[in-house]
């Protein structure tokens, strides 16, 4: 018998038992829909995390002293200046950080991070200016008391676009507001918009003593190898700090792409886990199919006997029942894919990462549902094929 004949037979059979077929398929539908839905949630999460990490700058190297920071830091402003001369380094932003109260003339106050940095900070940390300008090189070199506000700080203080040019006090000292940053959105661990930026010399002079700095952010020029830049910087710092070839570094260089890779590994695992959990539902659906097919073989024992008397071979019966199971699982699978796409579109809309369409997931889910049909259909079909026609014909 040809495949078309078998499919026609299976479809006419399923049409006769619509309710039962629908209920049997429901297991597969739910299973496939959860696989498609949950995997797309996993992918959405991954996409969002990597997006946010990328927004921190993918060509970013963060250098920090190992073993404590602050005033005991071994990393100095001179180190930062020297790093700027390394080939491939596009921008260098040293950072010194402290907490301080920021107040407006109308006595709105907020406590936030005060970051002393250079004009390159904007490039290195991938911020954009919303209003006004960022700290200029001149302002940084001369240590002018100018401040750029993070978006959250501006909101907390009730300051809008008109605030550019006005005065605020930081830790009691007056500063001129020269710009407000675009909000960046939270990356999970800290709010990057809750900070104000002032020239590094100003923080050094008024807030944090000593010569150490907390971190140096380095932006590597496009087209340069991150690893090469990283090695050059490490070599430079080892020379500057007088570290021998066998000694341990007193600094560490942290690569943004490492974080990205780690994050996508984690969320990839998460996606797999979600898919794995969902496929349990699919297996349960498959068992539902097997159950119904076994019942069906029993109910149709006489029909099987008749078909054998009319000339059906064992494998005609086997393929008839197998195709029935496959039809159930495949139709269920396709409906499940559609449902899963709807679910993931809705979740994507609510969560804000949009609709993620992945043909791979759909192909895998469809293949999986076919496999479920085969695995759970073979046994009942074999039972049917093996029936002795004499006994089957006498079966009431």
């Amino acid at each position: 018998m040809s495949a078309i004949e078998l499919i026609r037979l299976a479809l006419s059979r399923l049409r006769r038992g619509r309710v039962r077929a629908a209920l049997t398929m429901l297991g597969v539908i739910i299973g496939v829909a959860s696989v498609v839905g949950l995997v797309s949630v996993g992918r959405g999460t991954t996409a969002r995390i990597t997006d946010q990490l990328s927004s921190l700058g993918t060509n970013l190297l963060t250098i920090s002293p190992s073993g404590g920071g602050g005033s005991t830091s071994t990393l100095t402003l001179d180190d930062a200046t020297a790093i700027a001369a390394v080939p491939g380094v596009a921008a260098v932003a040293p950072e010194i950080q402290t907490q301080a109260v920021v107040a407006t003339s109308t006595s709105n106050t907020t406590t936030t991070s005060v970051v002393g940095t250079s004009a390159d900070y904007l490039t290195v940390r991938a911020y954009e200016v919303w209003q006004g300008t960022f700290l200029s090189r001149i302002a940084v070199d001369q240590g002018l008391r100018q401040v750029v506000l993070g978006a959250t700080v501006a909101t907390d203080l009730g300051l809008g676009a008109e605030a550019v040019g006005s005065q605020v006090t930081i830790g009691g000292l007056p500063f001129e507001v020269i710009g407000i940053l675009q909000p960046k959105g939270g990356a999970g661990f800290a709010n990057p918009d809750d900070e104000v930026l002032v020239p590094v010399g100003v923080v050094r002079k008024y807030f944090v003593g000593g010569t150490g700095i907390r971190t140096v952010g380095v932006s590597v020029a496009d087209g340069y190898d991150m690893q090469a830049a990283r090695d050059s910087i490490a070599e430079l710092l080892r020379v500057r700090h007088g570290i021998g070839t066998t000694d341990t570094d007193d600094f560490q260089i942290f690569d943004q792409t490492q974080l990205l890779a780690a994050a996508s590994t984690i969320s990839g695992t998460l996606t797999l886990l979600l898919g794995g959990i969902a496929s349990i539902a699919l297996i349960v659906g498959g068992i539902g199919i097997m159950n119904i097919m076994l019942v069906s073989v029993r109910e149709r024992t006489r029909e099987i006997g008749i078909r054998k008397a009319l000339g059906a071979r064992g494998r005609d019966i086997l393929s008839q029942f197998l195709i029935e199971a496959l039809t159930l699982s495949l139709i269920g699978g396709l409906i499940g894919v559609l449902l899963g796409l709807v679910v993931s579109a809705v979740i994507g809309r609510i969560a804000g990462w949009g609709f993620i369409f992945d043909p791979n997931t759909i192909a895998v889910a469809t293949m999986f549902s076919l496999a479920v049909g085969i695995v759970f259909g073979v046994w009942p079909a074999r039972q049917a094929a093996r029936l002795d026609p004499v006994i089957a014909l006498r079966y009431e």
């Binding site: 078909r307 008397a309 009319l310 000339g311 071979r313 064992g314 005609d316 014909l393």
Partner: protein
């Protein structure tokens, strides 16, 4: 040459600790174009006879030759092929496929012969029309009377032009006048040259046949004497 020949056929069922001998040393033969009744009370081994002649089962002793082939040596697939090509079954309880239209029921044996759908429907329709059921093609078994169902079953047995029509109590479930109608159909088939074996417990039904083989307790009593 005979169409079928049974030589010392025996069929023993192994029920674990008991062995049941359903047939014992049965010999008979049927010529082409003959109409033979196998007559016997219930429990005499009629059903086992039908199963063996119909190639649904194999004898445990003896030799069964159908249309020149030794059936005992065949595997399941080859037996199915013989059922498909050589034999047309008519059962007591009609045994039509439930939920399937008359025409699809009649077309089913052709499906297993690999005949294309269009031709199956054409031949099945022609067969049903020949038996006066042209107006019932799309009806399902539950929508047909007993007599009509048995005629559908007959059409299904004949659609493959089998060498042998094997009928098991063909009038068993029918009212008297319908039974007579069906027997008349068998007679017509016989007149048209079909080889027919009627299996029955009813001597009146057996009387339609040219000769009867009497079965009792799994053995032929006076089989060839009636010829």
């Amino acid at each position: 040459m005979s169409l079928l020949r049974l030589e010392h056929i025996g069929r023993t069922y192994d029920m674990g600790h008991v062995q049941v001998q359903a047939l014992h040393d049965v010999s008979m033969s049927v010529e082409r174009g003959e109409m033979v009744a196998i007559l016997g009370p219930s429990g005499s081994g009629k059903t086992t006879m039908m199963s063996i002649i119909g190639c649904l089962d194999r004898p445990t002793q003896g030799r069964y030759e159908l249309d020149g082939t030794d059936v005992g040596s065949l595997n399941d697939g080859a037996l199915a092929r013989i059922r498909s090509r050589t034999i047309g079954f008519v059962f007591q309880s009609y045994n039509l496929l439930p939920g399937t239209s008359a025409v699809d029921n009649v077309a089913t044996p052709l499906l297993y012969q690999g005949v294309p759908r269009r031709e199956r429907v054409k031949r099945a329709t022609a067969e049903l029309e020949r038996l006066g059921l042209g107006h019932r093609l799309r009806h399902e078994p539950t929508e047909l009377s007993g007599g009509e169902q048995q005629r559908v079953a007959l059409a299904r047995a004949l659609v493959t032009q089998p060498a042998l029509v094997l009928a098991d109590e063909p009038t068993g479930n029918l009212a008297v006048h319908q039974g007579l109608e069906v027997l008349k159909l068998f007679q017509d088939l016989h007149d048209a040259g079909h080889t027919i074996i009627l299996i029955t417990h009813n001597p009146e039904v057996a009387a339609v046949a040219q000769r009867s083989v009497h079965l009792l307790d799994g053995a032929v009593v006076d089989g060839e004497l009636a010829a």
